[in-house]
């Protein structure tokens, strides 16, 4: 395939293009944070509290997007805040994906007793409010980034498991699986060659969505003070801004904007992936 065809394909699916680019930008900002000429995101300044961003009167040129209630530079905090987002997004989604896909595959493919047990476990997990699981987990592990990652996995794996199981149940009844049995294929070939390729596109789309959810869960846990406290987080800025909405509304607006944009990007990516990988829709 040559370059122009790649370009054509990309423009034929703008959702995938925008989503993919957006994800790349988030990753790039997170990785490049230490290299950028920014103030220390943790540096406090009592003389520069709740400063507005550059387009509002009363701003300070050295704080482009203003400061929070402790006088920390908001631009810098936003950029550095992308780092925990990246960690949590990748690890959280990957962990939920791996656990969920394995459970879903086993449950759907083996059926019978193991399916009954696994389905029940999924149901039990879904009977808890997700936030409750996260809170209890933080109570066990203690606040921090890894507690956040595990919380995300604890909440997210059921989504993968349910969808994958349902899909495997449908695929299992298709004639091409019967044909595979008749041709003497062994279970690993049936699982990895016949079933898995039919599930992967959906799993990829779910992963993109899950990454978006991971960002939100991280923000929530940081917002209620259960995430890491030695890094700048978007949720942390939110929590700070929540206390000053009437005096300095921009503090909360900035991270909301960042989170919203990232989540939208990832949901576009999910839609784009679904479109791009479906052999029938694609033509």
């Amino acid at each position: 395939m040559n370059l122009t065809r790649y370009v054509d394909t990309a423009f034929a699916n703008p959702k995938l293009l925008i989503g993919g680019l957006g994800l790349a930008i988030i990753a790039a900002i997170a990785l490049a944070a230490p290299l950028l000429p920014l103030q220390d995101p943790l540096d406090q300044s009592l003389f520069a509290q709740n400063l507005p961003p550059f387009w509002l009167p009363g701003h300070d040129a050295s704080y482009l997007l203003g400061t929070d209630s402790l006088g920390r530079d908001l631009l810098s905090r936003l950029v550095w805040g992308a780092r925990p987002v990246l960690i949590v997004m990748v690890l959280g989604a990957a962990l939920s994906g791996v656990v969920g896909v394995i459970v879903g595959l086993v449950s759907g493919y083996l059926g019978g007793g193991s399916d009954a047990v696994l389905s029940r476990i999924i149901e039990v997990f879904m009977a808890f409010p997700p936030m409750l699981l996260a809170i209890v987990l933080v109570a066990v592990v203690g606040p921090g980034l890894y507690a956040v990652v595990i919380s995300i996995a604890l909440i997210g794996w059921t989504r993968f498991a349910r969808v994958v199981r349902a899909e495997v149940l449908v695929l299992r009844e298709q004639d091409f699986i019967t044909a595979a049995h008749l041709l003497g294929y062994r279970w690993f070939r049936i699982l990895f060659q016949e079933l898995l390729p039919n599930i992967i596109p959906m799993v990829l789309a779910l992963l993109a969505l899950e990454m978006g959810r991971a960002i939100v869960v991280e923000a929530i846990l940081a917002f209620i003070g259960f995430s890491t406290s030695d890094m700048a987080t978007w949720g942390g800025i939110l929590a700070d801004g929540r206390n000053y909405i009437y005096q300095a509304w921009w503090i909360m607006t900035l991270p909301i904007f960042a989170i919203t944009l990232s989540v939208l990007t990832l949901s576009l990516l999910a839609d784009g992936l679904r479109l791009a990988l479906d052999p029938v829709i694609r033509r």
Binding site: E123, A127, F128, P129, V136, V263
Partner: protein, 324 residues
Amino acid sequence: MALPTLLGVMVVVFVLIRVVPGDPISMMISGEASPDDIAKLREAYGLDRSIPVQFLYFLKTVSTGHLGTSISLHQDVLELIMGRLPATLELAILALFFATVLGVSFALTSVYWRGRWPEVAVDAANALALALPEFLWALLLILLLSVSIPLFPISGRTDPSNAAVFHTQFYLFESLFTARFSDFAEILRHMFLPAISLALPLTAVIGRVLKSSLLDAINQDYVLLARAKGFSPLYVLLRHALPNALIPTITITGTQFTLLVGGTVLIELIFAYPGIGNMLFGAAINRDLPLMQGITIVFAVVFILINICIDMSYALINPRVRLD
């Protein structure tokens, strides 16, 4: 179906209590208690027995309707929860109402005017509502409708100055059914932002699923036949396509509604709304295990009840299920 799930929830809750660091006893007592006292307390709470026996004891207590005593508030857990549960239920039901009304009208609008601008507009709104979780909606709406345009209050269930007397904890329903409309409006105004934030993601799910089921339905032969009877497009859509499209929508609304109820936890915190979700945070911060445990079980029971309701409404609308 429901019982094994509930039992599973009990097991998880029981295990969680045991893995949370810190002996529940040591949290109940002051530092100066003698080892003897501690042993007595352990015995009183059954903690000296083997784990399976403890689990059975725990089940027995729960099955008699006792959820223990709150450590931080020194009150019966069930009483505490029952005092707050109505507020949460009202919020969830109001949100479900918003979501259904908005979602169904979104879907119908975009299918009826498909290929024209209302479809594009509704789809864009839907995609936005779907992508953002209730947490972000709550903060955004606070900024928009409380801070920049001060329309709605951002905390509480009613104004502290409000002297209205309620006989039940269901303030919204009580004021509505006793026709005290100014109280009703006041409470609704307080509930509007939290309910709408909770409702928006579900609105989008209902809108999207119903739309695709409707599009699916209008391509079916029975809709072609209905059109061949010479009915107007609106009648065909509402009478022939909608009932069929509702079947898959109800299933998904069910699972999503449990998510909505789960979402009340955070929304209540953000809006300082006095429901059980807000109470859960207090319990978590105070490490009030009996209270956390009680709230968890109540949430699980509510989830299971919702699923039963969904199954029943599903059977009501789908004649195939009724027979089986």
